[in-house]
Symmetry: D2
């Protein structure tokens, strides 16, 4: 293997800069060919020390830069649609960070554009599908050894939420991971969402309905419940239990090192998703690079991005009322099987 895949990274913020570093130093088979950010200092900082990279303030210019074979979109959500359509026009494969677009209408336009192109070009950044534990759970469910899945019990906790984090973002930005993971694990669409809102924790910022219990019903008759608690105070936890006809499987239970001292046996709870899912991010990018070099597009599709977006919109409406909202999806183009 020799020719490295030249990647244009759009957006050099926290996530974009991390992907630049990943492609340069951790991922085999790819190189950073271009970095774009409206803030040129930020692009320059992210690309420091990398040979042969071009810097851009305009994302579309980066797509046209020499040596660009593929695009990684890590810019803010509102910029995604234009960048995706431009990449499609050039026939460039894309890895697009979630959300695909800020709303489901935009996501549907992306789906239709890709379907019009007649081949898959975009992989959406739902990186849980690359986490070793999720991969094992998915393989177990697909094996049929536990029978049909009946319920998923999910826990999603953060130590604390960043400033400006809203109740709607608890669905859009946090639970969107469980929306995709649930659809992927079950291989079913979500048909309705309900939200229960306990009296908020004393640790929640004024005005944030934290925690919440989000309930999904699916096309195959399964039920998914998600505890989303973004100010739990004690750690970053992502757990999932799949209750099936012939047994149950749980991931996210920890236990890498047990320390016994001061009257208790402790296991460390990770404080950050970058710690918990570091390997998953590496694997995600590596898988995309490998597939792209082989002329393939695999992984979460634009349809997956659209479906997550449509469910999240219904979730936000359910959250506002504390009730149940049905989810209506558009027609699924044949491209997405």
């Amino acid at each position: 293997m020799s020719d490295l895949l030249g990647v244009a990274v759009l957006g050099a913020g926290h996530m974009g800069a991390d992907h630049v570093r990943r492609i340069d130093r951790a991922v085999s088979g790819a190189r950073v060919a271009a970095v774009a950010d409206p803030d040129s200092a930020r692009a320059e900082a992210a690309a420091a020390g990398i040979d042969g990279v071009s810097l851009h303030t305009d994302a579309l210019a980066a797509l046209a830069a020499p040596g660009v074979d593929a695009v990684l979109i890590a810019s803010p959500g509102p910029a995604h649609e234009e960048a995706l359509l431009a990449a499609f026009a050039r026939g460039l494969p894309v890895l697009c960070e979630k959300p695909l677009t800020p709303d489901s209408a935009g996501a549907l336009r992306v789906v239709e554009a890709e379907a019009g192109a007649g081949r898959r070009l975009v992989q959406v950044g739902f990186m849980r599908r690359y986490d070793a534990e999720y991969v094992r759970l998915k393989a177990l469910l697909d094996s049929g050894r536990l029978g049909r899945p009946l319920m998923l019990h999910c826990t999603h906790r953060n130590v604390s939420s960043p400033a400006g984090f809203t109740s709607a973002m608890m669905i859009n930005s946090s639970v969107s991971h469980e929306i995709d993971a649930g659809r992927w694990l079950l291989d079913q669409e979500i048909t309705a969402v309900s939200v229960l809102r306990p009296r908020p924790s004393a640790g929640a910022p004024e005005g944030l309905l934290d925690p919440q219990l989000v309930l999904f019903e699916t096309s195959g008759g399964a039920v998914v419940d998600v505890e989303i608690f973004v100010n739990c105070g004690f750690g970053y936890q992502v757990r999932c239990e799949a209750v099936c006809e012939a047994g149950s499987a749980r991931i996210g239970e920890g236990r890498t090192m047990v320390v016994e001292t001061d009257g208790s046996a402790r296991e460390e709870v990770p404080q950050d998703y970058l710690v918990r899912f570091a390997d998953a991010y590496d694997r995600e990018i590596q898988a995309w690079v490998d597939a792209t070099r082989g002329g393939l597009v695999a992984g979460p599709s634009a349809w997956d991005g659209y479906a997550a977006s449509a469910v999240a919109e219904a979730g936000v409406r359910a959250q506002e009322t504390g009730g149940r909202v049905a989810v209506e999806l558009g027609r699924r183009p044949s491209l997405y099987g």
Copy 2:
């Protein structure tokens, strides 16, 4: 300590006979004074080998038998109300197996009769309050170390359901334990119930909506979710996670013996509630005997029995519709604090 408490046991079926054995052989400070069952052979079998016990086909006659200081009601639910009122009339303290009565209207009459007597006479058989793990969880919540509880996630699984078990019994007979445990752990009343009904497991008998997800809202703004799955096939499991403002606590996680063989590390999952909760039953009866000998009535009250009954009734209605039903409780007599 010397004079043994003479107990009349009403009902000599599975549970009644087990209590006769427990009082005779496991519990200190009490003796079986009388056993009543409409089926005299059953009473005789249960009391075999016990000196000085009188046998009765009529429950009320047993209450009047010589040496009876207290009553343990283990007869079928429809017989409870008459026995309770008769015991109250004689001033006899009672341990009454759950349900207090088959419906909340009867339970309310018992509450009012006891309130009219002006002192507590009845303890209801919610034995989870005597399980060592529940006791530790309750103590932790009451200590305030984890802040206010926000949610309880409960799992209640049986290997398989007995013949004739109905969807309503999943609430009345099974989830009723979580109803009481939730009220007790949170020290709050339940104000509404919702039920989600996934597509039934292939392992569920024809017509049984198994599993279900039951959701309780409480007077203090907490949310309780209960997975009830009475044909899970692999074990008897009772788990509870209390999610609080400053942390989370889980019980029912097992791990008494880990066996590693054939490529896996296994922990046995108990197959039966009598195994999982054997010590709790012993402790419950011992606590009642000790309190009664000291002239006290403690433990779950008739009000607790009534509240559980009213919530279960609302739960069955929610189950029928797949929706949400509010719970209305009668006025709480001052006797119940």
Copy 3:
């Protein structure tokens, strides 16, 4: 069941008083008939509130008191031999706290006296055989499902040692539990002992070689290693892993309640053997009462007490040298099968 077994308790110190309370209040089928202690105030305090009990400063007088059917010896070790022989002379069954006698020569005299009487009269207080987890491990090993046991890895930790605790007592008083548990689990005699002495912990009192690693070789070719650490500082822990030809089984791993807070998931480590083994003590006394009322003597025998004593003596010699000492047992009377 009606006539209660009248028990004379010899010794009203910490353990004796606890057994008086246990027989009076927790154990079914027995009553405290007599209490003996050279310190009459101590006997009086232990027996307070119990009807029909006689108090004695002389142990032998207690054996002759009216209503005494059996004897529980909880006096200091040097008083055991005389009390045992006196009980044998009266044909009274005995539960004798460990050690059977302070040295193996005395234990062998007890064995010979009992063998001379031609029937078993004494059960030795090795209460681990009544712990639920040990019972499950023993049953698993006896089932043969894991093949022949090859090694036992044992951990025995105390928070801190009482004043005056010596290195020899680490073997005599602490490891003696593993000596009996190892012999019982493997159904083999111990043939040699070695002791490794790491540089003592900063937390060990001046002069105490704490921790130590004690190694046993057995008649069936198994190896048992025991970490004994009586000033570990963080808890009371008793763990045992049996490594067998077809798998491994571990007990003592905890996990009754998991608390997640402050960046870690914690399980409480018990601080005291009375907490960890409370149920085992209850079960031990109850089993002895039940057997005795049925005219049987079961449980750990005088031979077990003698063998433990002989191994402990060899262990103390091995400890002094840091080397290996062979264990020589006397001839086993046919009474002990």
Copy 4:
């Protein structure tokens, strides 16, 4: 970052071919420049599809090939010394798979050659130092939070041993990992070895003393016990508990996915070290590439390789006698700090 480190891989067997693949496809910043194996077909197969690689049957020729900046030695142990000295002569940094050399005399010659060169050139392939759990344990011990380590309890199990595996190889090839890990975790030399040999398992091949209990004493007064069991039948397990003055820490306890079915809760036990330590191998090679590109040599040194070899030799002698053998190390050159 741009110029890739050109690596000559000596040996294209199981491990060598895996490293070729790793450098080509998983590790960033390096390329395979040359592959050498006496069996040219094997070299060819390993290098298939890699551009710009030269193939050699002679290891020394590979060192002289164009584009070679560094050497990875994965040839059989007897070939190591010559290759190491040749690489030293060319000033090439080396990653040498364990053992450094087949015996401690050869290892000492390598140490002296490197010391004569005046700078570190070789890193030995003790890859446990790169395993995430070991790294966390090492960091905890170095932090001093648990006080001084007193004992290490280690478990090292394989499903079954390959044909021709001898008792001596249980020390040389298997326990050598614990020898290095123990020295590294404790930062102490090993001063004596004892071996206890239980009666072999029925699952052990004729003539193999499997399992064994290996005991190390260290220069700082710690004790390390290692269960080595290469035909345990049920999985590949590497566990380590560090018992310290203020607490204990355990790694290797598993728990990535818990499956509950058929009456038990199971966690998968990995069957192979390539599964358990896959990430550690990746991290090891990546760390070596990164250091080498930066002109540094870090990681396990030739001295570590020599010490492991000397301890293993003493271990084999202890194994032959079932007794204790002291370890004498040569003088440590100042290069190794």
